[in-house]
Each structure stands twice: as structure tokens, then as C-alpha cells.
């Protein structure tokens, strides 16, 4: 079972992997430092830099594939990053099969979204700034997946957090966007604190943060240490990936421009948590409890996302909750361990395609509908926006898992893997949760699709002329749609084999509580039921105003009261604590200081009355004093006082 993790040093072309990060970073610097002078051509520089990274990524990927499968990795140490006492951290990069697929996803989907954003942000005066932040994000994300130690990962991790904050509150003049940015930043800090403490523990117990050294040193740690370490990393992952209990920021993050939602809050950054757990797979494999917790987080989140997603009416928020739910599937996958690591990564890649596709589709719909986001006020758009409609349809069919689209190949194996848990009750609970999630996903995605593109037109604005978006926006949509259709069967086996060096070659025998065929049939049946139900309910449109609803729907509309819970448990006591401290400061600390000053001031005000300016009274007091002194001398001399 024990196997040493070793990474081969980078050679040849692969020693240039730093260019992947450097190009978008340089572009971001140019865009942000040149200011208005770059307004005319800045967006094209932004697109080109990411596209260049993508091409380089392909070259490096091909080179990596050309290496022998045993030593398929390239570790590169650029310079000494931090050297304090025993803490030695190199600015090191690692290009291995896992980071390779991430690089391709980030730069590939990223290039398409950059291209789309050129059209989408065309009339925005801040387009150059937008592309600067966008490139900064890509650079940070690449650093995150390319780092060869946890500190580098943390560096990128904070970088994407910063870029995410800047982009969510990109339209900072809107109070809702500014608040959403702050909310995302704060909730991410909670997770980041977990990750940071996890890294501290690594250094305290193992004296290093390099991936290889940490994984090889795990066997020397106590089970509790591994558990705590894993849980802290999990908190970090939950924060970044919008998983329960830190999910609340992700749907609010939709306040940002739609390309941001597509790139950061659907395809790449939110999957950083999955990457973290997949990268730390030796930690998670080493502890059963840890896996159980991760699986539970995944299962809770995926159901939660589905339930809330089914009750929302804002097209981007439905997609956001859908993202939360789909990442729940990925967490379920990485938590299950073994062969499911690869399944989670495959789902992550497939999700990157179809969710980016749908988000950009949603952006295209908003573009044609005067920034309307309420799906109740759409309808009948299939006639007016043919390309958006067709591409969105591929995303919709992919996410609900209709064969042969990508979701079927990526999600269904995770459900099957959940049913293969060794403990019977766990297999039933998590398997059924994943299965139920599949049905609910079909329901809410179909609802979204039907309400947006079919049924009667329910447009409420005057002079509404929905129109197809320009080519620069539809071409990325078409390419992503092709990815949504084809990615699944292209990746299902090849990526699993490709990732074997990272996750080990353990191939679990199917010994689940249900047979594989049975699970496939079941998941297709619940999908069809969910989709059919939604189709029949919403075929004729829906009311424009919120309808009275039962307990469950009301709860789902209010995010299952999680925001209310956060507010009651964390926000209110915080506010009260602040008020108490302010009161204590004003009345207590300031009171003491002001009190002393007032006592001295008042006392001296009374004492100065003694200064009468009447010279003879001074003389009398001097005489009295002199007489007292003389008296005291005499008394001592005569021995009266001793």
C-alpha cells in the first residue's frame, strides 16, 4: 500500500512551464499599469495571452505524454521563495498529469470565455480593467495548479480569491455587487484560514510543504494529526468551492459580469477545492473518517444545491446553485477515494465545459433581453436566438446526464461509485442521495430551459426585440457546446488512465449494493422522471409573481435558511459584540481617561482660588509655614515628638 511519491525534474521544453503563468501575468500588468492608453487594444492582448498559454499548455501536455508513464512529471524550482530558519520554500512548479489537465481546462475554456467577453463587455467603459483582472485571475489559477508545494498553492489560492473579489464587485457602483464581493471575500477567508493552519501543521509536524515530501512523510504521523490536517484542508476546499457550510457566497457572486460567473464561479476557481483534495489524495486515502466527512459534505451540498436551485427564478442563480450541487458531486467523488478520484476530475472537466457553456448562454440571453435575469419573464426565445438555444440545449442535456452527452459519462459513474461504499448504510445513504440529486438536477435544469426558451413569451418590457448575439459571442458557445457533447466519451477512459500516476492504479471491483446496470437504469429513470415532470409543469409558462408555496419551497427560496442561520449565529453576535466593545470603549476606557482629566481639571480649578493676588496673605502663609518649621525644630529639640 505504501508507495513513495516522486516527481521527475523538468527537462527540455518542460523547463519552460513558468511561461504558462508568466504570460497572463505580464499581460495583466500591462493592462492594469498602462491605464487608458491600452483601452483600444487591451482586450485583444488579454485574449491573446490566455490563448498563448493554451497553446503552450498543449505543447507541454504533448511533451508530458511523450515521457515514460512511470516518470510522467516535471518539477521545476525557479528560485528560493521563503527561507526562514527551518522553513525553506522554493518558488517551484510541478507539471504532472493532474495539473496538466487543469492547465488545459483553465486556458482552453478560459480562452473561449475571454473571447466571448470581448463581445459581452463591448459597451462597458471598464473593459480593459476587466481583462486585466481576468488575466490576473488566470495567472493566479495557473499558479495554484502548477505549484509544487502547499505554499505555492496557497499563493495562487489567495490570488484567485483576490481576482474573484475584484471581478464580483467589478460594477462596484452597485451596492449589491460591492456587498457580494465582500461576502465572497469574507467567506473565502474562513476557508483560507483552514488551509493556512493546515499548512502550518504540515510544517510543524513534517518540516516541509513540498507535495512529495508531505505525502511520503504521512506514514510517520499519528492518525489524529492526519485527520486534523485533512479536515483543515477540507475547510479550505469548502470555502473556495462553495461547499456546505461555506456555500453562501457563491450564488451572490453572480453579481459580477456573466463571463466572470462562467470562468471563475463555474468552470475553474470553484473547482480549486476539488483540485486541493485530489492533489492531497494520499492524506485523504490515509484516513477513513476523513473520507466519510468529505463524502458527507459532498452529499449534503449536492442535495442542497438541487433543492434551492429548483426554487430560484434568477437564471444565473439557478446556474450558481447548480454549480454548488455539481461540485458536491465532485466532492462526493474525491471523498470516495480510489478510482473515484479520477471520476471526480472527469466530472470537473466535463462540468467546466457544459457549465461555462450554459453560463455564457445565459449571458447571451441577457444580452438579447436588456439584462433581464428572471426566467419567468423569458419564454419563446428558441425562435429568436437559435444558436444560443441549441448550444444551451447541449449544456442542459449534458448536465442532466442524457447519453451520449458528457454528463452521462461523468456523473453516472460517481453515483455508481457511491453505491460501492464498503459499509452498507453508507452505500445506501450516499448512493440514494446522489441518485435523488440526479433526479432533482433534471427537474430544475429542465425548468430553467423550458421557461427560458419555450412556452409563451412572457416579456414584460416594452419594445422587447430579442436578438441573437454577435459571432464573437456565439463562436465560443458553439465550441463549448461541442465540448459538452463530446468531452464525456472522449475523456471517460483516457483521462482515468492518464491520471493513474497521480491517484494510483487501484481499480475497485464492483461489489456495490446494486449492480452497475441497475444503477445506470435507475439514474436514467429518475432523470427522465425529473425532466418530464418539469416539462409538463412549465410547458405552458408560469406566473410572473411568486406564488404562495409550502414549507419546503419557501425554505428553498430562502436558501434553506442558511443565510438566516449565518446571520443569527455569526453576524448578529458579531454586531452585538462590536456594539458592546464600542460601548465599553466609549464609556469604560474613555471614561477612565476623561475622568482622570476631569478630576485634575476640576481640582485645580478649585485650588487656584488660593492664588488671590493679595501679597500680604502670601506673607502670612509664609510666616505660618516658617513658624510651623521652627515649631517642629523646637519640638524635636526638646524631645516632645520622639
Amino acid at each position: 500500500m505504501e508507495q513513495t511519491v516522486e516527481f521527475a525534474p523538468a527537462t527540455g521544453v518542460l523547463s519552460l512551464i513558468w511561461l504558462l503563468v508568466a504570460i497572463p501575468l505580464a499581460s495583466a500588468a500591462v493592462l492594469l499599469l498602462l491605464g487608458r492608453r491600452a483601452d483600444k487594444w487591451g482586450h485583444w492582448l488579454g485574449v491573446l495571452s490566455v490563448a498563448a498559454s493554451f497553446v503552450l499548455g498543449l505543447v507541454f501536455f504533448a511533451n508530458l505524454a511523450g515521457l515514460e508513464s512511470g516518470s510522467r512529471s516535471a518539477e521545476l524550482s525557479l528560485w528560493e521563495f521563503i527561507a526562514v530558519g527551518k522553513l525553506q520554500v522554493d518558488f517551484g512548479l510541478l507539471f504532472d498529469p493532474l495539473s496538466g489537465v487543469f492547465v488545459l481546462l483553465i486556458t482552453g475554456v478560459g480562452s473561449l470565455i475571454h473571447l466571448y467577453a470581448v463581445g459581452y463587455m463591448e459597451h462597458d467603459p471598464g473593459r480593459r480593467r476587466f481583462f486585466g483582472y481576468f488575466n490576473l485571475f488566470v495567472a493566479a489559477m495557473l499558479l495554484l495548479v502548477l505549484g509544487n508545494n502547499y505554499v505555492m498553492l496557497y499563493f495562487g489560492w489567495e490570488g484567485v480569491g483576490l481576482a474573484s473579489y475584484l471581478l464580483i464587485s467589478f460594477w462596484y457602483t452597485r451596492p449589491s455587487a460591492a456587498t457580494a464581493g465582500k461576502k465572497a471575500f469574507l467567506m473565502n477567508r474562513v476557508g483560507d484560514a483552514g488551509l493556512a493552519i493546515g499548512i502550518f501543521i504540515m510544517f510543524a509536524t513534517l518540516g516541509t510543504t513540498d507535495y512529495g515530501a508531505v505525502f511520503n512523510g504521512l506514514s510517520g504521523l499519528s492518525a489524529t494529526t492526519v485527520l486534523v490536517l485533512g479536515l483543515l484542508l477540507l475547510i479550505g476546499a469548502c470555502g473556495k468551492s462553495g461547499q456546505f457550510p461555506l456555500q453562501a457566497w457563491l450564488p451572490d457572486a453572480m453579481e459580477g459580469p456573466t463571463p466572470v460567473s462562467a470562468l471563475i464561479h463555474a468552470a475553474t476557481m470553484v473547482t480549486a477545492g476539488v483540485y486541493l483534495i485530489a492533489r492531497s489524495n494520499p492524506v485523504y486515502t490515509a484516513n477513513e473518517t476523513l473520507q466519510l466527512v468529505t463524502v458527507a459534505v459532498g452529499a449534503i451540498t449536492l442535495l442542497m444545491g438541487c433543492i434551492i436551485g429548483a426554487a430560484k427564478d434568477d437564471i444565473k442563480r439557478v446556474l450558481a446553485w447548480s454549480t454548488v450541487s455539481q461540485i458536491g458531486y465532485m466532492f462526493l467523488g474525491v471523498g470516495l477515494g480510489g478510482g473515484a478520484y479520477a471520476l471526480a476530475i472527469i466530472h470537473l472537466l466535463a462540468h467546466g465545459f457544459f457549465k461555462a457553456n450554459m453560463f455564457l448562454g445565459a449571458g447571451s440571453v441577457m444580452h438579447g433581453m436588456h439584462d433581464q435575469v428572471d426566467i419567468r419573464r423569458f419564454g419563446a426565445l428558441s425562435k429568436h436566438m437559435k444558436i444560443t438555444w441549441l448550444t444551451f440545449a447541449t449544456g442542459w442535456l449534458a448536465i442532466i446526464g442524457i447519453p451520449p452527452l458528457s454528463g452521462y459519462f461523468s456523473k453516472e459513474p460517481i453515483i455508481a461509485a457511491a453505491f460501492e461504499r464498503e459499509v452498507a448504510w453508507e452505500a445506501w445513504v450516499f448512493g440514494l442521495a446522489a441518485l435523488l440529486g440526479a433526479g432533482l438536477t433534471a427537474f430544475y435544469m429542465t425548468r430553467l430551459f423550458v421557461l427560458t426558451f419555450h412556452g409563451p413569451a412572457r416579456w414584460t418590457e416594452d419594445n422587447q426585440h430579442p436578438h441573437e448575439s454577435p459571432l464573437i459571442m456565439t463562436i465560443p458557445l458553439i465550441l463549448l457546446a461541442i465540448g459538452s457533447v463530446a468531452a464525456g466519451w472522449l475523456m471517460s477512459t483516457s483521462v482515468a488512465d492518464w491520471l493513474t500516476p497521480v491517484f494510483g492504479a487501484e481499480q475497485a471491483e464492483p461489489h456495490g449494493v446494486l449492480s452497475h446496470t441497475m444503477i445506470t437504469i435507475l439514474s436514467l429513470v429518475v432523470t427522465v422522471i425529473g425532466a418530464g415532470l418539469a416539462w409538463s409543469l412549465f410547458r405552458r409558462g408560469t406566473a410572473l409573481e411568486p406564488q404562495p408555496a409550502g414549507v419546503v419551497v419557501t425554505a428553498a427560496r430562502r436558501n434553506l435558511y442558511t443565510d438566516a442561520f449565518n446571520e443569527a449565529v455569526f453576524e448578529r453576535p458579531g454586531i452585538y459584540l462590536t456594539r458592546a466593545l464600542v460601548f465599553l470603549d466609549n464609556k469604560g476606557v474613555d471614561g477612565v481617561v476623561n475622568g482622570i482629566a476631569a478630576a485634575v481639571g476640576g481640582g485645580s480649578g478649585r485650588l487656584r482660588r488660593l492664588q488671590t493676588g493679595f501679597v500680604r496673605s502670601y506673607a502670612l502663609s509664609m510666616l505660618t509655614g516658617a513658624m510651623l518649621v521652627v515649631g517642629a525644630f523646637i519640638a524635636i529639640q526638646l524631645g516632645w515628638l520622639v
Binding site: 487656584r608 488671590t612 493676588g613 493679595f614 501679597v615 500680604r616 510666616l623
Partner: protein, 99 residues
């Protein structure tokens, strides 16, 4: 002749001087009373010098005279300038330096 009489005389002179300082208003008279007190002290010092058979008291009395002379120089100058500005040498009138 016992030296005690000199001490009694010094006490009487000092008491007259102190009383004068306390009850008189005219700055010049005050000044003279202060001189009286200083000379009473000088007389006591010289007497003690005689009683103890040492010269210490006499030497100190010279110091007192020097200080008294210096004091008179400054004090009279101050009194002069007060009189010039206020047309009065009463110490009760010069009462601006107060609360």
C-alpha cells in the same frame, strides 16, 4: 552682661518687622520691615556667634547683609516701576497676578 538680652531684642525686632509686613500696605514700609527682620536675624546670628565662641555666625551675617543689599536694589527697582505705571505704591493694588 548676658547675651540673652540681645536675643530678646532680636526677637522683638523680628516680631515688629513681621507684624509690619503683615499689616502695612505701602511697599516702601514693607521693605523697611523686611530689612528690620533681616537685621534682627543678623543680631541673633552675631549673638550666637558670641555664645558659641565661633566666627560662623558673624560670617553668615555678612552674607545676609550682601543678600539684603542685592535684594534692596532689585526690590526698589520693581517698586519704582510699579509706582510709575499705577501711581501707587500699595501692595494691595498690585494684585493682577492671580487666578
Amino acid at each position: 552682661m548676658t547675651p540673652d538680652y540681645y536675643l530678646v531684642l532680636a526677637t522683638i525686632l523680628f516680631t515688629i518687622g513681621a507684624t509690619g509686613v503683615l499689616i502695612r500696605r505701602n511697599a516702601i514700609v514693607l521693605f523697611m520691615c523686611i530689612e528690620l527682620m533681616l537685621n534682627a536675624a543678623n543680631l541673633a546670628l552675631v549673638t550666637f556667634s558670641r555664645i558659641n565662641g565661633s566666627l560662623d555666625g558673624q560670617i553668615i551675617s555678612f552674607f545676609v547683609m550682601v543678600v539684603a543689599a542685592a535684594e534692596v536694589v532689585i526690590g526698589l527697582a520693581i517698586i519704582m516701576s510699579i509706582f510709575r505705571t499705577r501711581r501707587s505704591a500699595s501692595v494691595d493694588d498690585a494684585n493682577l497676578l492671580k487666578y
